[in-house]
Each structure stands twice: as structure tokens, then as C-alpha cells.
Amino acid sequence: MSNWNWRLITTHAILIIGVLFMSLPVWVAFATSTHAPETILRDGLQIWPGGHFFETYREVLIVDGGVMKSVLGTTMLKNSMILGIGFAIGKVIVSMLAAYAIVYFRFRLAVPLFWIIFMTLLLPLEVRIIPSYEVVAGLGLLDTHFGLIVPLIASATGTFFFRQFFRSVPDELLEAARLDGATAWGFFVDILIPLSKTMIAAILIIMFVVGWNQYLWPLIMTTKEENYTLVIGIKQIYQILAEGGELPQYQKAFALTILATFPPVLVVLVFQNWFVKGLVESEK
């Protein structure tokens, strides 16, 4: 009995330490963001919330010049949303179509092609960032949402996930659909997409978070402030705040960090059921 108690206590202790380790920095960032700049400068990071919550967040989000020279927090939030959503949807579409071709069409070189796609996992954007920039710049797509998203959406991971899933769909479904007169496109839209619903949801969520957190590519791609995403904004705010001999506005930097963290967390929290379902089970 006492043995069992000890085990319970140690496991809980480990779990609690883990939770604190993960969440305390976020909490400190939040608490600090609600204090006045003088307090932060004088006393350092804050563990308890202060009285400047509305003031700080209002300035960051909607007051002109409150956080950047010209761009508002809400605009950056919007840019991040567009990047996250466009990135996720683009990836799902491209990788589903690629996986469909690889699994269901018997064309020569299907297998080598798949492995070539798979090998691009070894070539992340960072490796090909200069040629990618060249191409996008050459097309005159710098500082556009389109140019920001499209070079990112080819996805070996997504293709691989969908390939594995499609291969687990029984062949008889395809055969039944063929006898039922479904075209290749019809089978994809009427049968495969509905069957992959949970899978699509899971990948959308993962990819939204990945897209939201993109840093290097948007940093290189965007030159105008009104195209900044939140993640870029955090980096830039320190430069801006340090200029001009005024008191550094650390609370705003922390507020921006919290704003950048919040949406992905919200998405995962809201959709976690779908997320888990998509990754562990599949209805067939």
C-alpha cells in the first residue's frame, strides 16, 4: 500500500514538474506583459499579473504606432492567419493529389518518384532558400501572400502520410466504385476525401502550427512592414523598441509573444479530438 503511494507521489511529482517546466515561461511572459515598462526595467520579470493588461494589449493590437512604426498587431495577426491557413490547406491539397497519383495510378517510375519526393525531406526550405528566393523574386512575387505560401506547400511528410493511409483503404472500394461508374476524379472526391476526413483534419492542424511558426522564409520574403507576420514582428519589435532613447517597451514584446503563441494553442485545444482520431484510428 505504502509502496503504491510512493509510486503515485513520484509519478505525480514528475508530471507536475513537467507541466511547470512547459508552462511557467509562458505564464511569466503573460504576467510580465501586464506590467508597466518601469516595473519591468526596475524589477525584472514578473510572476504575478499587473494592472496594465488592457492598456498594453490595446496599444499592441489597435493603436497606430503602438507596436511598430506603422503596422498594427491585428494586421500581423491577420498575416499570420493567412500564412498558417494557406500553408495548411495548400499542403493538404498538394500532398493528397500526389499520394493519390502514387497509390492509385500505375505509371512507370511511380515508386522511384515516390522515393524522390520522400528524399526531399532531407532538403528543407533552409537549404534551397536562395534559389527559392530567386524564383519568387524573378516572378515579382516578393511581398505577396501568394509568394509567401506557394514555395512552402510541397510536402513530403504530407504525401507520405496520405500514401500510407490510401494504401490501407481496401481495394474492393475502388473496384466497387469503378463498377459503379465513378471516374478517377469521382472516386477521389466521393470516396477518398470523405474517408480521409480525420486524416485531413489532423494534417491541417499540424501544418497550421508549422505554417504559423515559419520564421526564416517570411523574414526574407517580406520587406514591407504591413506584410509582417507575428513571428517576424517579435523579432523586429526589439529593434524598434530599443531605438529613440525612450524606455524599452518590454511589456509589448511579451504581449506580442503571447499573441503569437495563443492561436496555435487554441487550434490544437479545440481540434485535439479530431487530431488524435486522425493519427491513431481510421474508419474503413
Binding site: P170, E172, L173, E175, A176, A177, R178, L179, D180, G181, A182, T183, G186, D190, I191, P194, L195, K197, E283, K284
Partner: protein, 358 residues
């Protein structure tokens, strides 16, 4: 309604494996044909070639005198029921049944009417708005059949449709399929490895072995008059008794056992004497003495297994004999029975080729 013709149909897979080695067959309008054979004999491949799910390597297939070798499955006007039902899991029963019609551009009102007709015929009208995972195995099977029926195809194809059901349901669905086919009078091809299913459903039966048709005919014809040893042993339950023998000019001989009453057989070749368990009868001056080994009581009938006196040197399998009798005869184990048979009903095969000689 349609007839189906197969001429010299062959199937060779890219890896060189030969699944079907030349099949010729004519199926008449409204006929119920069953392909039966052990697993891997090519019966499913043959069916799938008719459906258009496998390419035909050689030969041709015609439905109503139209060659369909290169016609897409959808345009062949055939419908298929799969072993695992292959229902679209995300669609309701209604969705499953109407999908094929929708793809053919049939107006909505007509689809609804047809689906409801088919559903009431199959007694699944109450489940139309459920999804397949809310149905039992038998109900799913019905939906799969409904999906085939609504299309009003020229030919129904069944690929072992009952093998996922439990024994009781299988018998029930078997009767229902037969009844339905009678009623709709659509040419049907049914693949199974279960000889009872084959016997009970078929108008004509094609016994397939190793990619070839061993024999084709009505079930009773195949039972009474099998052309090869394979057909004789595949059709009929319990299996035909097979006794390896040689012919010495007057008698069939196995060890010390001598069976008179046969003429005109080749000498010095290995032969097999086949006698169905129900063709044996008890008689004082019978040709066989059976030492009782096991008695299986099936209710109305008893199956008595044992070895024949005089054949003791044979391998255990070769000497094993089965005698089917009614439930009143219940001999003690290790006792002997004197059994006779009518030489008219005995069959003699050549062991090497399996061909029937007598």
C-alpha cells in the same frame, strides 16, 4: 438479361504466374452459374476478368455478343457483390445504393424510386438512412446486393459473398439469393469454394482446378457422373471414398483385398476406385469388411469411418473409408461391418491423369 460467352480466356500475370489456362464457356440468358474450386484455382480471377477488374491476357469475353475485353467495368453493364461487401463506409445505405445510378446521370426522383423498390425487395427499407457500420453482417450483405440490383445490370457477379457470415446466416442468405435470382431472372455468376453452396445454388456448375474447367454441368450430373477424380472428390459430402487399386484382368486388387465384377480396364496402371459413402450398404456377402474406427452421429445419419480389411498396409489416409447410414446403426468401435456396393455405381479413375475410365 444476357448471355455470356468466354472463348479461350487466359490470364498470365506480369510475374509469369498463370491463373487461368484457357476457358471456354457459354452461359445462357438467366442462368445461375457457379464457379467452384479450391482456393487459388483461378475462379475469382475468371470472375474479375468478366467484371473488367483484371485484364484478359488472351481470348475474349462477350456479353450479348458484344466483345467486352477492352470495355471499362462501368460500361459492361455488370454488377458485383464482394466478399467483404465493399460498402462505402461514409455513405448511408441509400447513398451506397444510389451512387452508381447517380454516376450514370439518372434523375433524382427515379433514383429514389428504384432504391426504395430494391430496398423493399431485400427488406432493408428500414435501414436506408443508416450507415454500414450500424448494420449486422447479414444486413450489410443485403445492402451490397441491393447496390447490385438497383443498377438492373445484365449480369450479376458474386465473389464468395457469404463467406464472411456465420453458418446459420449463410444458409438463410443462400436461399434468399436463389429466390432473388429466380425472381429477377438475371444471368448470374457466383464464385465459391463451398461445395454445398455450389450444389444448392447452381443451375450449372463449373468445377475449376488449376486454371482449367474440370467439368461443367448441372449439380446432380456432376455428382452422379463426375468426369475426373478431382470432380468426384470435390463434389459431394462426405467425400467420395478413394481406394488405390490395380486391375489383374478380372479383379481390382489392393493388398489382400480382391474386388470382382469389373472388366475392360487397363492392367499395370495405377487406378483409383471411387465409391460414394451413400452407395455402400450393409450386406452379409458384401465385398468389404470395415473395421469401425469412429462413428459420427449427425442426427438423421451416422457416418462410420474405418479401415477396410485387407488394405492394412496402405497409408492410413488411403485406407480410410466412410460409410453413410441412418441413425439406427450404431456399431461398437473395433467391431467389423460387412459392406457391399453396386458395381454399376462404382467409379474407376486412372490415378495419374485423374480421368474416369468406368
Amino acid at each position: 438479361m444476357a448471355n455470356v460467352q468466354l472463348n479461350g480466356v487466359r490470364k498470365t500475370y506480369p510475374n509469369g504466374a498463370i491463373a487461368v489456362r484457357g476457358v471456354d464457356m457459354t452461359i445462357d440468358d438467366g442462368e445461375f452459374i457457379v464457379f467452384v474450386g479450391p482456393s487459388g484455382c483461378g475462379k475469382s480471377t475468371l470472375l474479375r476478368m468478366i467484371a473488367g477488374l483484371e485484364k484478359i491476357t488472351e481470348g475474349d469475353i462477350k456479353i450479348d455478343d458484344r466483345q467486352i475485353n477492352d470495355v471499362s467495368p462501368a460500361d459492361r453493364d455488370v454488377a458485383m457483390v464482394f466478399q467483404n461487401y465493399a460498402l462505402y463506409p461514409h455513405m448511408t445505405v441509400r447513398g451506397n445504393m444510389s451512387y452508381g445510378l447517380k454516376n450514370r446521370g439518372m434523375p433524382k426522383a427515379e433514383i429514389t424510386k428504384k432504391v426504395e423498390e430494391a430496398a423493399s425487395l431485400l427488406r432493408i427499407g428500414d435501414f436506408l438512412d443508416r450507415q454500414p457500420n450500424q448494420l449486422s453482417g447479414g444486413q450489410r450483405q443485403r445492402v451490397a446486393m441491393g447496390r447490385a440490383i438497383v443498377r438492373e445490370p445484365k449480369v450479376f457477379l458474386f465473389d464468395e459473398p457469404l463467406s464472411n457470415l456465420d453458418a446459420k446466416l449463410r444458409v438463410q442468405m443462400r436461399i434468399e439469393i436463389k429466390r432473388l435470382q429466380r425472381r429477377l431472372n438475371v444471368t448470374s455468376i457466383y464464385v465459391t469454394h463451398d461445395q454445398t453452396e455450389a450444389m444448392t445454388l447452381a443451375d450449372r456448375l463449373a468445377v475449376i482446378n488449376d486454371g482449367k474447367i474440370e467439368q461443367m454441368g448441372s449439380p446432380i450430373e456432376l455428382y452422379k457422373n463426375p468426369a475426373t477424380l478431382f470432380v468426384a472428390s470435390f463434389i459431394g459430402s462426405p467425400q467420395v471414398n478413394r481406394l488405390p487399386v490395380t486391375f489383374d484382368g478380372q479383379n481390382l486388387v489392393n493388398g489382400d483385398l480382391v474386388i470382382p465384377g469389373f472388366t475392360g480396364l487397363p492392367q499395370k496402371t495405377r487406378l483409383v476406385l471411387g465409391i460414394r459413402p451413400d452407395d455402400l450398404h450393409q450386406s452379409g456377402d458384401g465385398q468389404f469388411t470395415l473395421r469401425v474406427d469412429i462413428v459420427e452421429q449427425h442426427g438423421a445419419d451416422n457416418l462410420i469411418y474405418g479401415a477396410l480389411r485387407g488394405t492394412e498396409e496402405n497409408d492410413a489416409d488411403d485406407a480410410e473409408f466412410c460409410f453413410k447410414t441412418d441413425h439406427s446403426l450404431l456399431p461398437a468401435l473395433e467391431t467389423t461391418l460387412q459392406l457391399g456396393f453396386d458395381t454399376e455405381r462404382a467409379m474407376v479413375f486412372e490415378q495419374e491423369s485423374g480421368q474416369r475410365l468406368l
